[in-house]
Subunit: 386 residues, 2 copies
């Protein structure tokens, strides 16, 4: 029987190790793309959407869509790149999903990746800062400092402890230790977080995600096509996508991310699921404080209660609502263009019970939340196995 | 009455002068975006798709989607960039069209632009060459040399004269002289083309498009929404998009562009129009020879006859099938990300009778063809006023 709901199937996934990699971007993208094609059991796709932020700045290469489609021998598939800074992966999934829902494509390969370690840290920071409002940048604002201001605001307003934020880093490193694809597989303690070098007070080096190379891929498909390949597969039941000011200091409070709220509302409405239905979450923990803020804006915890939930272990692997089972950006790593795609890979694998040591039991509904800049653009997807 | 055909309305257009501009990319994008919003009479859009190739390489800026949506005050519109090298504009129109056809968006702003004159010509050439296959590049291939090899192949195979190619540059400069937005408004003669400096034999400097800054924008909308704004507007009746090898020397003949053929077939089938129905064309004349090759692959002329049609004036402003009434890439200029969008602007204006001195009489059906690399990716759209 033909299904006419507006769902998009996740027919296959691929991901390889994040970290410092010797390969270039095209090699990394190819590696995970081939894994996803194999996993799906498809040889041809109608569309190839590459998520990547800065191949030009990092490797001096443009046109990665054309280069990759030829490398993979997937011509005449339509191939192009989608860029929305750190939210590129989520944006690419949104775009590919529209192509399938519009009937233009039946099967699409979405592959996100970034090769960042070609440059030294100060140069990488310069590239990343280029996404911010020009005036803000001229005044010295950076994404790490915005996160620190946000943490300071949040702690004062809600009485959150420094330890509670540290516990998020500890949790995500623990999860990462169980994920063979994670950049960091080392477990850490709260004491280690709190004695690590300060980046921007009150946040320390262990509060932030690292600079990583890596890629991840998914095969999205029309539901009725997917049914010919598999009996059981995850579907994206609904996607939300919204933007907000590119100058976060315009917000009333730096611990707010209105675009997360809007994107979540859209995704919940489209999927007919609400925050209470969510069993597992992959979200954009560029810094520990962002895990708290985003979890609240998603409606998973009341405003000002996210830090407590983290401290009490609610979001741990064995808690009621595990967040970032993959290790998150914090421990799995954040190769910019890969992140949104890697989130869908993790949620899909969890829902299919393929996560080995870090497997969450009985997870039925998953959510991904990928963020551009400091909340300038946000995609949220609700995923469930049918 | 609600229309359920798969057409997308062009509700407004905006374009400003191409050439050496003092403004930066965001300013150029904003300028044409505001013109398109005004032309459409809409104040808010659901989606903002930016077409741009190399903001990173040319200006050290990523995240132009987020920056622009804030600059224009269009939050919470979904904002991201689409990149497919010189085909970015067509790819962005395709992506926005899918968003509308899928029902995700009702109104979308597509704005393409490039700021290129920040760099000297050798650096620009380096950036452009980065889109080619790595091995080809290592052997010294560039887009201008590929065009020259292609011209040599074509002339030998079909007896085309050097003068016939020069006549295309003359025609496009003439058209550009009538277009206030064109980079070159100077009319030239065949003698001037043939005595201009050689770039790569047999092609000379006047056979190639210049390096330009510029931007162009269109407002795309759901047909039923568009009807609330206007009684009469152009619609995209069908889009085709296909890729081909990124290493053109793998083709049997360098004067073939299989992706143009495939994309055209898709667009003709979707629009229920064929090559005989087309009245005006904007196509990707990066070099004069490409106007010939592409016009043949689009089915407008038989293989090996395109040069004759050009020489005989068939493709002139007062000919049977005017090509590149805007001046084309050759004379209007080729700010990379702008080109595909600017083609749709020109065709829409022609079909609405808004082209002033360069207006073609009684044009009913228009076609655009935007090319990535040397035929690595191609979009074709068939446009008609309803």
């Amino acid at each position: 029987m033909s299904i006419t709901v507006r769902w998009v199937a996740v027919l296959g996934v691929g991901i390889s190790r994040f970290g410092k990699r010797s390969e270039g971007l095209i090699d990394l993208l190819s590696e995970s793309a081939v894994m996803a094609l194999d996993d799906a059991g498809v040889e041809q796709v109608d569309e190839l959407v590459v998520a990547n932020m800065a191949s030009g700045e990092f490797e001096g290469v443009s046109g990665v869509g054309s280069i990759l489609v030829s490398r993979l021998g997937l011509e005449p598939a339509r191939a192009y790149k989608v860029e929305a800074t750190s939210g590129s992966g989520g944006a690419a999934i949104y775009v590919a999903s529209n192509s399938i829902l519009s009937g233009m494509s039946k099967v699409a390969l979405v592959v996100g990746g970034e090769k960042m370690t070609t440059k030294e840290t100060p140069e990488v920071s310069e590239v990343i800062a280029s996404i911010l409002d020009e005036d803000d940048r001229a005044h010295g604002l950076t994404l790490p400092s915005l996160a620190a201001f946000s943490a300071r605001n949040y702690m004062r307003e809600f009485g959150a402890t420094r330890e509670s934020l540290a516990s998020i880093a500890v949790k995500n490193h623990y999860n990462g230790s169980l994920n063979p694809h994670a950049h960091f597989r080392k477990r850490i303690t709260i004491e280690e977080v709190l004695s690590s070098p300060i980046v921007c007070d009150p946040l320390r080096i262990y509060d932030y995600c690292p600079i990583s190379d890596g890629a991840a891929a998914v095969i999205l498909a029309d539901i009725n096509v997917a049914k010919k390949y598999r009996d059981k597969f995850p579907v994206i039941r609904g996607i939300g996508y919204a933007s907000d000011t590119n100058s976060p200091i315009e917000r009333d409070f730096l611990f707010e991310m209105p675009a997360v709220r809007r994107a979540a509302e859209m995704a919940y409405a489209a999927s007919k699921r609400g925050p209470r239905d969510i069993d597992i979450v992959e979200l954009h923990d560029m810094a520990t404080i962002l895990e708290v803020i985003i979890s609240e804006e998603l409606g998973l915890f009341e405003r000002g209660r996210g830090w407590k939930a983290a401290e009490e272990g609610v979001t741990s692997l064995d808690g009621e609502l595990p967040i970032n089972t993959s290790g998150g950006l914090k421990a799995k790593g954040h190769p910019i263009g890969a992140t949104g795609v890697a989130q869908l890979v993790e949620v899909s694998m969890q829902l299919l019970g393929e996560c080995g040591e870090r497997q969450v039991q009985d997870a039925k509904v998953g959510l991904t939340c990928n963020v551009s800049g400091f909340g300038a653009g946000v995609t949220v997807a609700v995923v469930e196995v049918i």
